[in-house]
């Protein structure tokens, strides 16, 4: 049964791909434009990328920046989110100032600022990502704190008066599923933003390569990079996260 379902799923996926490819091809033929490559050109350029060793370095560099940026944003966001539970001042500060500010400043503005401050370096893409994903973590930690099982907190408070240990042993574990949800949406946004950050402020990574090919009007290559992004995102979204969730996150979820 399970097997059967999977096959229908896969065939649906393949049909969808086929339709998109067909439309793409049609448009490429109709426009007959050098600036709109056919799927075949893109696949050739993609194969070309796959056989170029430096591609992998760029992919790794970009992955590293995505993860480092998400991690940094996560740390700051989680800490800010949690402090709102303990300090009235921080609650006002985060709710009224920090969260709305980071939520509304466009990432491009950050990217510009970071280029000015840090020049062409890892910092621009990493910090762009961090500032963009940080609000996800704040809001998800809030959500988690709102849903906290107060009965468990009460049970723990019988045994200790240490807020630190309560946080570590009882409250943080309850936040895990919420933080994981933030990581999931965060990483996906992070991938889009890291590319932007690299276009602006880096001399390595997939975004940088994209900008080079773009500047050279090497359109099949631009498409090929785009395909690579898609594959990487699909991998995270459909393979990696579901796997982690099945294996590690389920047990933290409280059934009510």
């Amino acid at each position: 049964m399970q097997h059967h379902l999977n096959i229908t799923k896969i065939s649906k996926f393949l049909i969808a791909i086929a339709i998109v490819t067909a439309i793409w091809w049609l448009v490429a033929i109709i426009t007959k434009n050098q600036l709109f490559p056919t799927p075949w050109d893109a696949v050739k350029a993609f194969a070309d990328l796959l056989t170029t060793p430096s591609t992998y370095t760029h992919v790794l560099v970009t992955t590293y920046r995505t993860l480092a940026g998400t991690l940094a944003g996560a740390l700051v966001g989680i800490i800010l989110g949690i402090t709102t539970r303990y300090f009235k001042f921080m609650d006002t500060m985060v709710r009224v100032v920090i969260y709305p500010f980071f939520q509304s400043v466009p990432t491009v503005c950050w990217a510009f600022l970071f280029v000015i401050w840090f020049g062409l370096s890892d910092w621009t893409p990493i910090l762009s990502v961090a500032t963009a994903v940080m609000p996800f973590f704040i809001i998800n930690v809030w959500e988690g704190l709102k849903d906290i099982d107060t009965k468990l907190v009460e049970m723990g408070s019988i045994y200790t008066r240490s807020k630190g240990r309560m946080l570590q042993k009882i409250i943080m574990p309850m936040l895990n599923p919420y933080i994981f949800a933030a990581v999931q949406s965060g990483v996906i946004v992070a991938w889009k933003i890291v590319i932007l950050g690299e276009v602006f402020g880096s001399s390595t990574g997939m975004g940088y390569m994209l900008s080079i090919d773009f500047a050279a009007y090497h359109l099949p290559r631009v498409f090929a990079w785009t395909i690579s992004f898609t594959f990487i995102l699909l991998f995270f979204d459909k393979v990696f996260f579901p796997f982690i969730e099945r294996k590690y996150i389920r047990k933290w979820q409280i059934d009510r």
């Binding site: 009965k151 468990l152 009460e154 049970m155 723990g156 408070s157 019988i158 045994y159 200790t160 008066r161 240490s162 240990r165 309560m166 042993k169 009882i170 574990p173 895990n176 047990k251 933290w252 979820q253 409280i254 059934d255």
Partner: protein
């Protein structure tokens, strides 16, 4: 052991407890029997320090509830629901009281946890998660967690709620056995007169809100008790009469 004097409590405008005084002596099992909403849970929350005292005093082994740290070491609590951490295995749940108190768990504490699990016959399930256990087993696990710190006084708030009759009776016997085995004094809240008669040395009967103590009834037969002896049936009738009496005003 536990000494409560003139305890009154209100939630905002709602008068809940209205001058409650009683003692629980060492090795006793005392049941608190009262209608739903009479403030039984509130009373236990006051004893555990989950609500702060408005009027009256509570002392445990001559330590006032004001001295929180010392006082709490003498208490074990089982709530109406098992309140287990779903992400922890049985043994990890039992170790929680230690972990909340100290940075590092000692081998001795690990042994104590295993012993507590053995007492409630869950040692074969020490690596199971709560959701893998039956309702009765979850309640037993909560008992093990309450016993692991070896408290003097065990507070039980309708600990067998939501269990079927067989499991409930089994667990009543088990709690009595644990109490004897570990020399605990027990304060047991229930709304079931039969349960009270089966387990208690004394039964404190509460009125409706605003709550006072109507009567304290001693139960004078030894253990093990039979559930259906003529004595216990007439005692049950006696208690039900007090229980159902309307106040005179």
């Amino acid at each position: 052991m536990l000494s409560i004097k003139d305890l009154s409590f209100r939630y905002g405008k709602l008068d809940v407890l209205n001058g409650i005084s009683f003692d629980v002596f060492k090795d006793e099992t005392v049941c608190i029997l009262g209608p739903s909403g009479s403030g039984k849970t509130t009373l236990l929350r006051l004893i555990t320090g989950l609500e702060s005292i408005q009027n009256g005093t509570i002392e445990l082994s001559d330590i006032s509830i004001e001295e929180k740290n010392l006082y709490k070491q003498h208490l074990g609590v089982v709530f109406q629901e098992p309140r287990l951490l779903p992400w922890r295995t049985s043994i990890e749940n039992v170790l929680l009281p230690f972990e909340l108190n100290e940075k590092k768990i000692s081998d001795e504490q690990k042994e104590k946890a295993i012993e507590a699990l053995k007492l409630v016959k869950l040692d074969d399930f020490k690596d199971s998660y709560p959701r893998e256990l039956s309702g009765g087993m979850q309640h037993r696990l909560a008992l093990a967690r309450a016993l692991v710190t070896d408290p003097d006084l065990l507070l039980l708030d309708e600990p067998l709620t939501g269990l079927d009759v067989n499991t409930k009776e089994e667990l009543q016997d088990e709690i009595l056995y644990l109490k004897k085995e570990t020399n605990k004094t027990v304060l047991w809240v229930t709304h079931d007169p039969q349960e009270a008669i089966y387990v208690a040395d004394r039964i404190i009967i509460l009125s409706e809100r605003p709550t006072v103590i109507k009567e304290i009834v001693p139960v004078e037969y030894g253990y093990p008790r039979s559930r259906l002896s003529s004595d216990s049936i007439s005692l049950e009738q006696h208690i039900r009469t007090i229980f159902n009496e309307k106040e005179d005003n």
